[in-house]
């Protein structure tokens, strides 16, 4: 079919970026461009462990960011000349790897749960585990996260338990969100993770606002706002970035460019050279990085954070990856892209496998840990499903700081009706 063909090539374009030394296939660090994947390493389709990346260590030395605002500052700076081996020690690497695996398994289990009708909705972050976990690892716990909707890995890293995830998805009485939000729309002020808001890109100008407040408080923290490739088309993207630059707000904009916005490939989303150039247009230092490489993302975000906090300015990080899963459980992506393409990314460019090889090479992980992880997760889901849903009181609270008179009255009326007709009242709603 004509449209099929068009779509495939559109995505192939995105894929090709990873395999050839195309213009868009380059890692740009400062003014220098490095081929994203060394063509000399011909086994391009085989997951390469650390050794192949070592050939291009310079890729991951975040040497320079440059901003190219016409007329104003075009500064460049040198970051520390760290070898990545020193940046990620064993403890950190093991935690990163186990969280990536947990995220992957958790996504699979919840996806299946939705398919079985046990929860209403779910979104996986398959293919983007490295972006999630490495970003979280590179940030501090005081850094405020303003997610889009595919960053639950960060919550996981910060200590949101499997049980809490399950509670939110099932909307039971132990849900920290009191059963108010649909699945995936997590929020936890304790973990500095702002509640997920569905309208796309609204979190971007809001991030500038939070960052401005942090700046006024002179805190040693920044805001990290996430957006997808599709979200960069929204008006709020423009307003948010422009404003953050003008206000010199310490915010890191992380664009998860995974090639797809539901069924819209990036070639139909924008005609610019990806998203990094958009950041530049606003006078924001920008970098593009391989999102399937956990260590690359880690060092890029680390450097971005230092810049944002020490120089009090926004930074844009574009991470290139591929959305292996469907957009959500309401989507069947085989309708607009080929199975082969999905399989290829799933097996050959899986960020988890890639990182495992590095971790195993260092002797830091084994099968036993893997099995233990899976059984813990299964248990959490079973427990969550069995719990009761939130009580009636939670229907009326939090609309305002204090309950308004009309809601107080309405609740009173409702309870009186329940007392009068107890048999008709559903048994799964506790009072």
């Amino acid at each position: 079919m004509a449209s099929w063909g068009r779509r495939s090539t559109a995505v192939a374009h995105h894929m090709r970026a990873f395999f050839t030394a195309n213009k868009t296939a380059q890692i740009r660090i400062g003014t220098r461009r490095y081929p994203f994947f060394n063509p000399a390493v011909s086994s391009a389709l085989v997951p390469r462990p650390w050794p192949s990346i070592i050939n291009m260590t310079s890729l991951f030395l975040v040497n320079r960011f440059t901003s190219s605002v016409a007329g104003s500052q075009a500064g460049s700076r040198h970051a520390d000349d760290d070898n990545d081996d020193n940046l990620v020690k064993k403890e950190l690497a093991v935690k990163m790897y186990s969280d990536m695996v947990t995220l992957q398994i958790m996504d699979t289990f919840f996806y299946e749960a939705q398919r079985q009708g046990r929860i209403s909705f779910y979104m996986t972050s398959s293919g983007e585990e490295a972006i999630n976990i490495s970003s979280a690892a590179a940030l501090g716990k005081d850094d405020i996260i303003m997610p889009q909707y595919r960053e639950h890995g960060i919550l996981l890293w910060r200590g949101f338990s499997l049980q809490e995830f399950a509670n939110q998805c099932f909307g039971n009485k132990d849900d920290v969100g009191k059963g108010r939000q649909m699945p995936i729309h997590y929020g936890s002020s304790k973990h500095n993770f702002i509640t997920v808001s569905s309208p796309i890109a609204t979190q971007l100008p809001q991030a500038a606002g939070v960052a401005y407040s942090l700046k006024m408080d002179k805190k040693d923290a920044c805001v990290v706002a996430f957006i997808g490739d599709g979200g960069t088309s929204q008006g709020d993207f423009h307003a948010g970035l422009n404003f953050a630059a003008v206000m010199e707000a310490p915010v890191i904009f992380v664009c998860r460019n995974n090639g797809w916005a539901i069924s819209t490939p990036i070639s139909e989303q924008f005609r610019s050279d990806g998203v990094a150039v958009k950041g530049q247009a606003y006078g924001i230092p920008s970098i593009r990085v391989d999102g399937t490489d956990a260590l690359a993302v880690y060092s890029a975000i680390r450097a971005a954070r230092n810049m944002a906090v020490n120089e009090q300015r926004p930074v844009l990080v574009e991470t290139l990856a591929y959305r292996v899963g469907h957009h959500s459980t309401s989507d069947d992506s085989t309708k607009y892209r080929s199975l082969d393409e999905i399989e290829q990314w799933k097996t050959d460019r899986d960020p988890v496998n890639r990182f495992r090889k590095w971790v195993e090479l260092n002797g830091w992980w084994s099968e036993r840990e893997e099995t233990e992880l899976r059984s813990n997760l299964m248990r959490a889901i079973q427990v969550a499903e069995g719990r009761r849903k939130p009580p009636l009181t939670e229907l009326f609270t939090d609309v305002y700081d204090l309950p308004p008179s009309n809601l107080v009255e309405q609740e009173k009326q409702l309870r009186e009706t329940i007392n009068k007709y107890p048999i008709d009242f559903p048994s799964d709603v506790s009072l």
Partner: protein
Amino acid sequence: MLGVVRQKMLGQSLPKIRPVVSVLRSYSSAAKQMTVRDALNSALDEEMSADPKVFLMGEEVGEYQGAYKISKGLLEKYGPERVRDTPITEAGFAGIGVGAAYYGLKPVVEFMTFNFSMQAIDHIINSAAKSNYMSAGQMSVPIVFRGPNGAAAGVGAQHSQCYAAWYASCPGLKVLTPYSSEDARGLLKAAIRDPDPVVFLENELLYGESFPVSDEVLDSSFCLPIGKAKIERVGRDVTITAFSRMVGHALKAAEILEKDGIDAEVINLRSIRPLDRSTINASVRKTNRLITVEEGFPQHGVGAEICASVVEESFAYLDAPVERIAGADIPMPYAANLERIAVPQVEDIVRAAKRACYRSVPLAAAA
């Protein structure tokens, strides 16, 4: 007149008719006059000095001293960190305000007119209004969105719409509509101190109008309660509800009606959400007739909500059909003669009140 019929609806008992005298916070003996503009300016000034978390943001609020000079002198006094001029992006600065409020600051976001708030309405409704609920109380949004609302003079369709009904239909928001300088001061202070998001609808034509203010009103701790209407004029024969500029029209209409022997009670709503249903219903139970007045479009307007409330709670007390006076159901025209016809005038209120009192045939009866 119908006798009082006790009705029990689902166990809800009738609220007592509150004594009217206590509600009469009359303008005291002080002769001091203050324009609404100065009232707003002084309220902002006092709240900003009392709480360092309060800051003002909007187009032209700083260097230009405010598009309507409401923020005059504030940039000089508090500096550019607390009085921020913004680029032209309502979506941008409304979003930034919401973000700042998530973090714990208290932004006052000014829209040049609420017509432009349409470009930011997603942040107001989907973020500001709903966040506290969606986050189960973890994220409150103590923000105030303020600016002129409703018709001005000769500015056409995109500068003249009244948004009271739109914002007031959304749970999670509070919507205030000051009329006098006392209202402006008291309600703005209350709005800034309130932990919930507030939409504060001013009126451009009222900015220059002067009202008497007592010493109590001028005190920096002065604050009006949100959700309480004010009975501007006590009457016996017909209740007229109004808000913002229409309160002035209603009061003038009441003077004209008095000469014809009709004693009108004028209620200044002050707060559209929460709506002071008990004051309105108590008044209707006393007078048995109701006219609602608003500048906005008639369909799904504030008057529709008031009519429904009265029919639900005080139906047996009504002696005449309820009538709504609203702006014409058209985008506002520019030509002065057409504009005049498109907005409620004092004569419209007088005629409607007479119809309610059966001095002429009510519209409903004529159908």
